[in-house]
Subunit: 314 residues, 2 copies
């Protein structure tokens, strides 16, 4: 049995534990990766990196077309991996896009993204979860503060902090349309949350998380550690955010007319595959936490615009 380095949802009180894992998982074979020393240091310190020029204008056009296609294909669809907004029938998230869409499957293997994940995680990587968040204009609701790792550890059995989320911003992210907010440096601490996890908790929690929710005191403590700063991942369409699996993040609602759509790939180290959930409960479904036929990604070195052309010429 794998030791539980990060117990949570086992008592009635919250507590803050020190992180047990490295942030940058050094591997001499991968140190020649795309990230500079400065970028690595910034990621280690803050827990995230935002790139505004990873993709070309052409690439971004293609990404936006594909986003629209996926949204249209999933409107009104009744399926476990299509999540609706809590108070309306607008599409909130579509999961498993690295399996269900040929285009996003190739995108998830794109060398530009994969080589960054490999360098940060110090090993070969695979996708443990993927999704598109649409966050429609006018009625996109807030995501309250959370560490993804807390849920992935307790509900999915991810043993160590050795995963990174990659968010490609597919619409312009402004200060006023509910951008992702991050507490810099919060990935160095683990907020153990009160409560126990019921079976099938995910059916509720994907709409509105009620367990694994950090308490006010711990959040205040983390923000104080960051000198009162809360950062926002704003940028033009095509910006790419890499953020550490344990960084505390959330977002406000979006009452602006502009949707705030993103595609998420979660890269996990091939040496950090999921085990039994540390809650002791049954694992969440495959679309939330991939366990079957795990193989390391073979990166594809091609532009996104080219991905599209190649697919259409088949």
């Amino acid at each position: 049995m794998v030791a539980d380095l990060y117990p949570s949802r086992i008592g009635e009180k919250a507590s803050i534990l020190r992180r047990q894992d490295d942030v940058i998982h050094k591997n001499s074979n991968l140190m020649g990766g795309p990230l500079s020393k400065e970028e690595l240091a910034r990621y280690e310190e803050n827990g995230y990196l935002l790139f505004q020029d990873l993709f070309s204008k052409e690439d971004i056009d293609v990404l936006q077309q594909e986003l629209k296609r996926v949204l249209n294909e999933n409107k009104g669809k009744q399926s476990d991996d299509v999540i609706l907004e809590p108070d309306s029938d607008e599409v909130r998230s579509v999961f498993e896009i690295h399996k269900n869409s040929e285009f996003f499957k190739r995108l998830s293997k794109n060398k530009k993204l994969v080589s960054i994940a490999q360098q940060l995680l110090g090993s070969q990587v695979y996708i443990t979860q993927s999704r598109i968040n649409f966050k429609p204009g006018f009625k996109g609701k807030e995501f309250y503060w959370h560490s993804d790792f807390e849920t992935w550890h307790v509900e999915d059995g991810m043993p160590n902090m050795r995963a990174v989320s990659c968010s490609i911003i597919l619409t312009d992210n402004h200060e006023f349309n509910g951008p992702l907010m991050l507490i810099p440096g919060s990935h160095k601490w683990y907020v153990s949350c009160p409560g126990a996890t019921p079976d099938d908790n995910y059916k509720q929690s994907l709409k509105k998380q009620e367990l694994g929710v950090p308490d006010h005191e711990s959040l205040k403590w983390l923000v104080d550690k960051a000198d009162g700063q809360i950062d926002r991942a704003t940028g033009p369409a095509g910006s790419v955010l890499f953020f550490e699996c344990n960084i505390m993040h959330g977002s406000s609602g979006n009452i602006s007319p502009f949707s705030r759509s993103n595609v998420f790939f979660v890269f996990n180290s091939i040496e950090n595959k999921l085990v039994e959930p540390f809650s002791g409960g049954k694992p969440r479904p495959e679309f939330l936490a991939n366990r079957m036929n795990i193989e390391p990604i073979e990166p594809i070195d091609e532009s996104i615009a080219n991905t599209k052309v190649l697919m259409e010429s088949k």
Copy 2:
């Protein structure tokens, strides 16, 4: 009977009407007021002005102490003019502070504020409504887009667009704690909303407005007119925002640990006193729309810090 220049909540469809009133109400006796030509032009164009240096550090300290006192005095109070958050028992707003607190009564007559209102409205002024909004950290909920004038016209019988809100920001307003958002230039148009107004609508609408809510299409149109821009009133504690009664504004929720508190005074022209509500219903209570014993304000020329000292030495 006074003609209804701005019909709303009378049909099933929204429509956008042109503003009938001046934005700056010129009065040759008041043109020597505190605002420069440039400031007046900016107000006319955008519909609001933000000042960061109207008050001294000492003044702001006093304001913050008084805010705390009012919050403590009203915790757990059952009263019509104390409004709680929809999902908790946190105080959301306290009304009538220009009557119920000696300190805020004097502040509402402060010459720095009143002389700006007089210059914009081209006449003597009085307070038609006042309140403190606390917007607590972690759970402050959103205020959806609205024009104050739409409600004041329909539910309170304010005949013309000749009022200005003055918001003194009592905590630092960041991008990340749900600052007031404004659509620049939207005060030049009137969004007539669908629906009819039931009696005592205010009991619901102060927690969550459901009538007089502009439709998506009109909001999109207003934001397009503003070249896709939505402005935020961010600034350090002590900043003061003057915004026109018909500007379209709103705010997102506040999941940060920092509360976002403001004191609001609504100055109305003495020539624009309330008449019968244009909805045909009964007027809202006095604490929302002052009708009794209306007298023009005699401005008091003193610093806020001095207001406090004078009061304490009594």
